[in-house]
Symmetry: C2
Subunit: 286 residues, 2 copies
């Protein structure tokens, strides 16, 4: 959801003409915040998620107040509520961070929990046979949401991590998810302009559509140097018992100039394994 601290100033000056009589007349600058208590509480948590990636695992009260667009005293009180419940925790230095309670509840979330539990053994197999980064992601809104990531010690540095959101058009899992998404989702996704991360990122809508068709044909996506320099990926769809694609697996490898059919086979196998475990029977759909 958008950022924008939803702080609304009602400025008398505007000709806005809502003649709501009385009070808010001339020149009054009344910062009106019509968020409910709940919304304010959520805004506080959102302050921790706010800026993608690197920033801020821990925040000070003041920072939270700013990001949430709340007065300090209010923030203070609400943060205390979170802390007493365990949703936030306060450290010695006075900084706050997300609390264990959130983690505990978070891992109970059905989609994440079920998919992960079922898929993990297959992802491990895939990791063992390929020794490459292994990803599991689902489609959420306009992003690929990374549910799981396995990688060894030697691992190439990647942006992905569990819980990360990455674009659909520039990642292997993303393209697979998009390829099997309802047409209106594709439509909408391609309507907005697609960010180019590297020279090879495909951002032209028609070219993307073309690709999606190929992926459906092959049942496999191949990406190369489109998100992170030096890395390529191979991704395949995971289906549930209804035949619908609900997730995607991928491996991310260092870019080479030869295609490794063994790797592709391994990714396919993993995806099929998980699909079967989810109750998918090939027979049902072509």
């Amino acid at each position: 959801m958008s950022g924008k601290p939803a702080l609304k100033r009602t400025v008398g000056a505007d000709a806005g003409g809502n003649s709501d009589a009385g009070s808010s007349a001339a020149g009054t600058i009344a910062p009106v915040d019509d968020r409910s208590v709940a919304a304010r509480l959520f805004a506080i948590l959102d302050a921790f998620a706010a800026p993608a990636g690197a920033t801020s695992r821990t925040l000070t009260l003041t920072t939270i107040a700013q990001r949430a667009g709340l007065p300090l005293s209010t923030t203070h009180r609400l943060v205390a509520e979170w802390v007493s419940w365990g949703g936030l925790s306060k450290h010695e230095n006075g900084q706050y961070s997300l609390g264990m309670k959130l983690w505990e509840l978070g891992v109970q979330t059905p989609t994440a929990r079920n998919l992960r539990t079922i898929a993990l053994p297959y992802l491990e197999d895939l990791y063992e046979t390929t020794r490459e980064h292994v990803h599991l992601a689902i489609l959420d809104g306009r992003d690929a949401l990374y549910l799981e990531k396995l990688s060894g010690h030697h691992a190439v540095r990647l942006i992905s991590r569990v819980g990360a959101r990455l674009p659909l058009h520039s990642t292997g899992v993303g393209l697979v998810l998009l390829a099997y998404a309802p047409t209106d989702v594709v439509q909408q996704y391609l309507a907005a302009s697609l960010e180019r991360f590297l020279p090879r990122t495909v951002t032209e809508p028609e070219a993307v559509r073309q690709r999606l068709a190929e992926i459906r044909l092959l049942g496999l996506a191949r990406m190369s140097e489109e998100m992170t320099a030096g890395s390529s990926s191979i991704a395949a769809p995971i289906r549930d018992r209804t035949g619908q694609v609900v997730a995607a697996v991928s491996i991310v490898t260092r870019t080479t100039d030869t295609v490794d059919p063994e790797q592709e086979r391994a990714v396919r196998l993993a995806a099929q394994g998980v699909s079967r475990a989810l109750g998918y029977r090939r027979a049902q759909q072509s």
Copy 2:
């Protein structure tokens, strides 16, 4: 937490002799709920965590209201707030479940995230060499909280799962965590009576203390048939840069009558690997 429900007289207020709904004679006493809005919101989430294990991935509005101890209309409104933020999601059938947003925030929780990220490669190694269930847990309150669990397809059925809480005295990781916990924690833990799960569960405080000493001496815990019939476990402590024990790794195997030194070595290695990755240098402490 505070919160004895205070009692307040409901004003009679009955102008005309309205049927008092039979509830009671004049001067009705109604329990007043002095929880804050925040506390009520949290109570709603807690309704999903409530009964350990198997129960309820999804709940109806009424069930939530009951478990949270809130009037239906209030529940209705507050649940709607959670849904609009993404903390809960509403399914077609009208049932509610924990939402993806919670998962997303949950995995950001520093302790969980950092430990997991660092430990995972070592856990994978351990899994590969032993092919047994691999656990990673931390001490939280009076429980061992399971941060990670790896297991293959053939896996023996176990109660543990990511996010689970299991007793300290009847699990490998639990005993290790207890062995290196501050004395007052041990004191308090042993003060309460310890549940016996199987005939071999050690529940006598002095016997447990004895065991903890042995574990500290060996730097390793061995459990057998104390929580789940037919399974045994080997656990070792993970230390951070200050030398403090912050977590424990274990493998859970089918019980055999011979001790496998290779397995013990593997668990030790994994624990040491993670500790080193956390910045622990053996030199610091004996």
